[in-house]
């Protein structure tokens, strides 16, 4: 892949700025103020370092993707206040192994799993509140601890704590260049040329999903139709800059967490509410009004993350989930109202699809579906026969008007290509050496654990665990 280095200030401007903006006593610079960055900054500060944390966002939009989250996945050997049953390290490992198809670093993943349990208390002690137990919808109470009030409440608590213990926080500082020499971190620089020197740096500035140019480079023009579920600021400038300096990376630029979301969501920051759960309740067609994948392959919670990719492969990266009236109230309400019509041709007209093609698809589907009522609480095996592809569970004819449709587009949560790190969270400069004072945590290195696939709640766990490791090691490294 051809890399364009990011624009920088001229050498002269640069010298002047370095002189004027060296922050006296800044031992550790943390770039990115999401969950990972905050965990790093707090850990480093608590270990005695003086810490400056920079975030590209204004204060009102701080917290990156982390502000959109709701839980993290934690191992536990017995029930806790917030988690039911037990979730042993081995089961956790098997889950990761399964979703990644083995594209993971076992040592680092086991480290994340081991540290996920103490992370809960560590966060609680710093003001993060967890929800006792949830009333259903996601049935994740065994594996995932839910933040009371969601990620934004968690972020608020961590910012509050960081401020209290004396982390210096600067908003609206978007770093575009990280200066390395001899594989050692020297300073970081914003587009305006403001520089921040420090003895060590932790990079916690997320993936590059919000960088449309880069996404297009990886995906082609299809990427222009992707929606970005989280912050518009995770543009991967720092990652890109380090790649230009030949720092090692891990992962494939096309790998990411991509879910099918409502196409009417905003381009950025639509977050959780653009989620759509209607797919297993009906059929999904593309622009040609043709079905293209088994809508009933498994429970939606296990399948929503493959549908982003499926829709991305369709013409114009759009698809339509179509249900009939009897299904309308069976899933969590969506924030955007269904597009509704009394007949299939009318619905096709509203969606801009070919009416006869859609009628054909639906009548073929109905003819192949089973008449019996399906049971959405189990994999009921009510399959169509003779279709290409078949719907293998919950296949019931669409025959009750009005008909409802929701448009779907790929919604990118975060990209997996990132910096390769070691178990001290140090950035690998090359196969043999790690930078002595440059660390990475969170999305920017999640690819070490998640080569592909996803297990709900691991994003925040990776950020929290590696954030803490990075912070502690960065602080300890200074005294060596």
């Amino acid at each position: 892949m051809k890399l364009r280095p990011m624009p920088r200030a001229t050498a002269k401007e640069h010298k002047k700025l370095v002189r004027t903006s060296i922050k006296a006593g800044t031992n550790i610079l943390v770039i990115g103020g999401g969950h990972a960055g905050l965990c790093a900054a707090i850990s480093a500060r608590e270990a005695g370092a003086s810490v400056v944390l920079l975030d590209a966002a204004p204060e009102s939009m701080r917290g990156g993707n982390s502000r959109h989250t709701r839980n993290l996945r934690a191992m536990h050997t017995e029930p806790t206040a917030t988690l039911t049953g037990q979730y042993e390290a081995e089961e956790y490992w098997q889950d990761i192994l399964r979703v990644t198809g083995g594209e993971t670093n076992e040592a680092l993943t086991r480290l994340v799993i081991r540290e996920s349990y103490p992370l809960l208390d560590w966060l609680s002690e710093r003001g993060v509140k967890f929800q006792p137990s949830l009333r259903g919808t996601l049935s994740l109470d065994r594996t995932n601890a839910f933040f009371l009030g969601g990620g934004c409440a968690l972020i608020n608590a961590l910012y509050r704590h960081a401020t209290q213990i004396g982390v210096a926080i600067h908003y609206e500082k978007e770093i575009e260049h990280v200066e390395l020499s001899d594989g050692t971190f020297r300073w970081a620089e914003t587009k305006a040329g403001e520089t921040f020197r420090a003895g060590a740096a932790v990079l916690a500035c997320g993936g590059f999903q919000a960088n449309t140019d880069w996404m297009v480079e990886a995906w082609g023009d299809a990427a222009r139709n992707f929606l970005i579920r989280g912050t518009p600021l995770n543009r991967g400038y720092v990652l890109r800059d380090l790649m230009a300096q030949d720092v090692l990376t891990k992962g494939d630029p096309r790998q990411c967490h991509a879910v099918a979301i409502d196409a009417r969501a905003p381009k950025f920051d639509g977050g959780i509410v653009s989620r759509l759960d209607s797919v297993p309740f009906g059929i999904v067609v593309n622009r040609a009004a043709k079905r293209f994948y088994d809508e009933g392959q498994d429970f939606w919670a296990k399948r929503y993350a493959i549908w982003g990719r499926l829709v991305a492969m369709q013409p114009e990266q759009i698809a339509y989930s179509i249900i009939d009236h009897k299904m309308h109230d069976l899933f969590m309400p969506s924030v955007f109202p269904a597009i509704t019509a009394n007949s299939i041709p009318e619905l096709a007209a509203q969606l801009g699809l070919d009416a006869s093609a859609l009628t054909d698809t639906i009548s073929q589907f109905n003819a192949a579906a089973s008449e019996a009522t399906c049971d959405h609480t189990i994999l009921d095996g009510r399959t169509t026969t003779g279709l290409q592809p078949n719907k293998t569970n919950w296949a019931q004819p669409l025959d009750q008007s009005p008909y409802h449709a929701y448009p779907l587009r790929p919604g990118i949560t975060f990209t997996y290509l990132g910096l390769k790190v070691d178990h001290h969270a140090r950035v690998q400069i090359n196969e043999d050496t790690a930078a002595p004072n440059l660390y990475a945590a969170g999305e920017i290195m999640a690819g070490n654990i998640l080569g592909k696939g996803y297990c709900a709640g691991t994003g925040m766990t990776i950020g929290g665990v590696f954030g803490r490791i990075a912070g502690i090691n960065a602080a300890a490294g200074l005294t060596i």
Partner: protein, 364 residues
């Protein structure tokens, strides 16, 4: 803009808000509002009114919201519910025009009514005997040398009767709009529900922010200040109410006449209650002012409570001096104004919120 347009606009903003919240549900753990919300797919007017009255305005959900402004969804649950809440009270108030008037000019109208009563009391007495207001009156029955016992009973009785009738009518209208479910009052589940309702009310559970550490005031920090001030106000009010009730029993049933000694039950209850009513309302006024949440109905209520308590203490301290007559006229004027305006002030939140909690606990 007409009142119906205003309330329709507020409701449609509340509906938009809850449609987004219902797809998100991150705030589920905070309070009853979000638990109730998840039982609905669409939001009828009555449901929105109910949610508004369930909300205690702790603002936890605002600070925790990833969609708060400047996000384009611009979600602010406590704000829209705070706007809707007094509208629901006004819509069900009886007579409604009084409520609207008070919302617009709460403080001035209450104080005007208080002054009218005070002047009336003062003047009518001065007409009888010019010295009566300024002379010293000591000993049992001294108050009634100033203002006849019958007059006080009549005025207070009429004012409180008015308040009770007006509030019953409003409460009933609200109940009807909510289509309350009828539960057999003897079933065990209703008894537990009542226990939860009383616990929620007297513990002010929903001012705990879902974790008992309190509300957000200036920023995303939690503080129980609002809860403490509310407790002082609520208990202060209840103690003063008890003081008056005991005094009434003493006078009407036992035939003892006020003023009672400093160590008597009504005076002690009044002192403790009065202290609560000096600190609590001031605290709430201060917190509300910081939030820029000063509605006519609530300020009038808070100010009257405070002034009643202040003049009450004045009376206690100066009751053996010549200032007593004037003070008594002012104090009673305020008390009468308090009762006359009661069905239209923030006081009614106690009724609506109790009804909302009853509904919440019975349904769930």
């Amino acid at each position: 803009m007409s009142d119906t347009i205003v309330i329709t606009e507020i409701r449609s903003e509340a509906r938009r808000t809850f449609e987004i919240c219902n797809a998100c549900r991150y705030c589920e753990g905070f309070c009853a509002v979000f638990q109730e919300m998840t039982d609905h797919r669409t939001f009828k007017d009555a449901t929105l009114d109910h949610l508004a009255n369930l909300c205690h305005n702790c603002t936890a959900c605002f600070h925790a919201c990833q969609y708060k402004p400047p996000h384009e969804f611009a979600i602010d649950v406590p704000q829209v519910l705070a706007e809707l809440r007094p509208q629901t009270w006004q819509e069900h108030a009886w007579p409604p025009s009084f409520a609207r008037l008070l919302e617009r000019r709460g403080v001035s109208i209450s104080l005007l009514i208080a002054s009218v009563f005070s002047l009336f009391l003062g003047l009518s007495l001065a007409l009888i005997d010019q010295n009566i207001l300024t002379a010293q009156h000591i000993g049992s029955g001294a108050f009634y040398k100033i203002i006849g016992h019958g007059t006080i009973v009549l005025l207070a009785g009429a004012a409180s009767l008015w308040a009770i009738v007006a509030m019953c009518v409003s409460a009933n209208r609200y109940r009807q709009s909510q289509a309350f479910r009828d539960n057999s009052l003897h079933s065990a589940s209703v008894r537990t529900a009542w226990r939860s309702v009383l616990h929620d009310i007297f513990y002010l559970r929903h001012l705990g922010g879902g974790h008992d550490e309190g509300c957000n005031e200036d920023d995303d920090r939690f503080t129980n200040l609002r809860r403490y001030f509310h407790h002082l106000t609520m208990w202060g009010f209840l103690l003063c109410f008890a003081a008056t009730s005991v005094a009434t029993v003493y006078e009407l049933l036992l035939g003892w006449q006020s003023p009672f000694p400093h160590t008597s039950l009504p005076v002690l209850l009044g002192i403790f209650g009065g202290i609560g009513l000096l600190i609590g309302p001031l605290g709430l006024l201060y917190l509300n002012a910081k939030r820029d949440d000063l509605h006519g109905m609530s300020v009038a209520f808070i100010v009257l409570l405070f002034l009643i308590s202040l003049t009450g203490f004045g009376l206690l301290i100066l009751r053996e001096t010549s200032a007593m007559g004037t003070l008594l006229a002012i104090h009673l004027g305020l008390v009468l104004a308090f009762f006359v305006t009661l069905p239209y002030t923030k006081f009614v939140h106690a009724i609506y919120r109790t009804l909302a909690l009853i509904q919440f606990h019975r349904i769930s």
